[in-house]
Symmetry: C2
Subunit: 350 residues, 2 copies
């Protein structure tokens, strides 16, 4: 089924509104979700809409959350998300970070008591129009095993860094700290294909090329081995130990049919966002001119295969965003069915 940006935005807005979300929040949450689809990160877009609804039905997400700053200094804040959706509280936190950066050069906000925040890039990119560098990260339900462990202890804990340029597109790295995200496994499962070594291990910790290992109690593997374990762990600590959220194996599952563990050490899941004003370091026009130079030089690096270009982080997603915004795109049939069920439940039309 081919869908347009407008159609999806409207539908997500109506679903969130039907769950009792205030208008401005529902508009924002819809924008964050659909932005993922437009950028080609289908696993984090409208495919998750029914998941958020089920969390609300299970009373594990508060659609009328009122996030509050519970601690602050001139360059930092800690926010209690009031069990709301990360889709809404992360942009709110980013605004706080940006305002602090305006005042004292940088702003850094740790968030607890939240739920999944969609794609990290949406939040970090908010800094770009302010001529700031944006940073965002989050912890997530445990799927990744630390080096030498069988157990799932970390989420795919993504990090995003967004940097403005002048004439060139911004530089945007938005990466999970695992070798592969769950979405890639699902694609291999559907196509009945084997996956590269290094993506997963079996429930006993053995190497495997079977995309079904995760379902059988196996685990995802950290990016490039022990370094990815350290990086994912650092994201967990900044997002959750610093904010007062749950960390490691205690991060509550996104899926509503799995209950959180007992005796949680924190509240909800955690995020960490930041903004750094470029001109807190050097004149912004100098910086942006050099960013253009950086980008051009890397794009012109000598290619291995003359037909395969060297890309700048973020470039494929911008291309996809442009194409999908103009032409719409095909939604996976499972996702369509999911949305049609939501339409029925809330008496809406897709």
């Amino acid at each position: 089924m081919n869908v347009s940006k407008t159609q999806l935005l409207k539908f997500c807005f109506e679903v969130f509104t039907a769950c009792g979300m205030p208008t401005a929040d529902a508009k924002l949450a819809a924008d964050v979700l659909v932005c993922a689809d437009l950028r080609g990160i289908d696993s984090h877009g409208v495919a998750r809409l029914s998941g958020y609804v089920r969390l609300w039905e299970a009373q594990r997400a508060n659609m009328q959350a009122q996030p509050k700053i519970i601690h602050q200094t001139p360059s930092t804040a800690t926010i209690d998300a009031d069990a709301g959706l990360g889709l809404v509280v992360a942009p709110y936190a980013m605004k706080v970070a940006i305002e602090k950066a305006r005042q004292v050069g940088t702003g850094w906000v740790a968030i607890k008591n939240s739920n999944h925040f969609g794609i990290a890039a949406y939040h970090a990119m908010m800094a770009l129009e302010e001529d700031m560098i944006g940073i965002s990260m989050t912890n997530a339900s445990p799927l990744v095993a630390p080096t030498h462990a069988k157990e799932r202890m970390l989420g795919t804990n993504p990090i995003c860094i967004a940097v403005p340029a002048a004439m060139e597109l911004p530089f945007i790295i938005d990466m999970a700290t695992s070798n592969a995200a769950n979405g890639k496994l699902e694609i291999a499962q559907r196509q009945n294909k084997s996956i590269p070594l290094g993506w997963v291990q079996t429930e006993n910790g053995a190497e495997s090329t079977d995309a079904n290992e995760l379902k059988r109690g196996g685990a995802l593997l950290p990016l490039g081995g022990h370094k990815g374990y350290g990086l994912g762990a650092a994201v967990d600590i900044l997002s959750a130990v610093l904010s007062g959220a749950n960390y490691g194996p205690w991060v509550p599952p996104f899926v509503s049919f799995l209950a959180p563990l007992p005796d949680l050490p924190g509240e909800g899941i955690g995020h960490f966002v930041g903004a750094m004003r470029i001109d807190a370091f050097r004149p912004k026009d100098d910086f942006k001119m050099h960013m253009d130079n950086w980008i051009k030089r890397f794009k012109n690096a000598e290619r291995i295969d003359p037909n395969t270009e060297v890309l700048i982080p973020g470039e494929p997603e911008f291309r996809m965003h442009k194409e999908r915004s103009l032409k719409g795109f095909d939604l996976n049939q499972n996702v369509v069915n999911d949305l049609l069920e939501l339409a029925k439940k809330f008496n809406l039309s897709l």
Copy 2:
């Protein structure tokens, strides 16, 4: 040859002093270098001493540098390192970051016109005794090829994040953004062993397990593929585009026999350091108690092999540091010869 910590500290101090470095700086530079050896990062310790001396002889490093803050806001600063050694200017920058964090919660410092700064962990760890989280990164001479490129465009650009705990050892991730650092290739070369796929590519960009590819014009490969390329690129941008240092392929080589490229876009190499006060986010005792809990839980993760423990990032280096500080350690014969030549040159005894 077995050497002691004291012996190495004294020798490095005397060599730096002989190059005209002021006493306090020479003491600090010696401490940073020897700290690398004590932690087991032999490639970044006294093995590099003669390299710094040759840079000075080639008039590319200023042993009497007077680093200056050239731009600042309450939470940021940019420092011109005056062509000094990163070994000295990075701790200086870290002190500036810590002082800013005391005042406004966090402090972030970009450094240009510098030279190699040793191990990233030394600088980030300075934040620990202040109950702050420390962050440090640097760019470096180009050895790593971006995804789909033949050309060496990035250094091994390391990132360190150091986090204090209460009773447990601090959490310290200090990682290159390449799959393997040059030091590991050198070990394989000496032992005439092949290396895993993914560490290097040939000068034509083909896969290889030959540790000698780098010498033949090949390149190191980024951590876990395109994600490591993005991460190393982000380190390059924060360290150099933000500070006004050279970036990408223009970063001047550490070895004095290779000249910098013409028409450089910046000055020297660049670093980026930061400090975040724990209690700018939550009470520090709460945080440290949860860090202890985090660490214990991860150490107790179910093991794949009952005899192979799950380690916390930084733990192997702390163990090595303890052992080597007490018992001394064996220096590689090539390094000993290098130090003996320095001893002769400056009329010192090792």
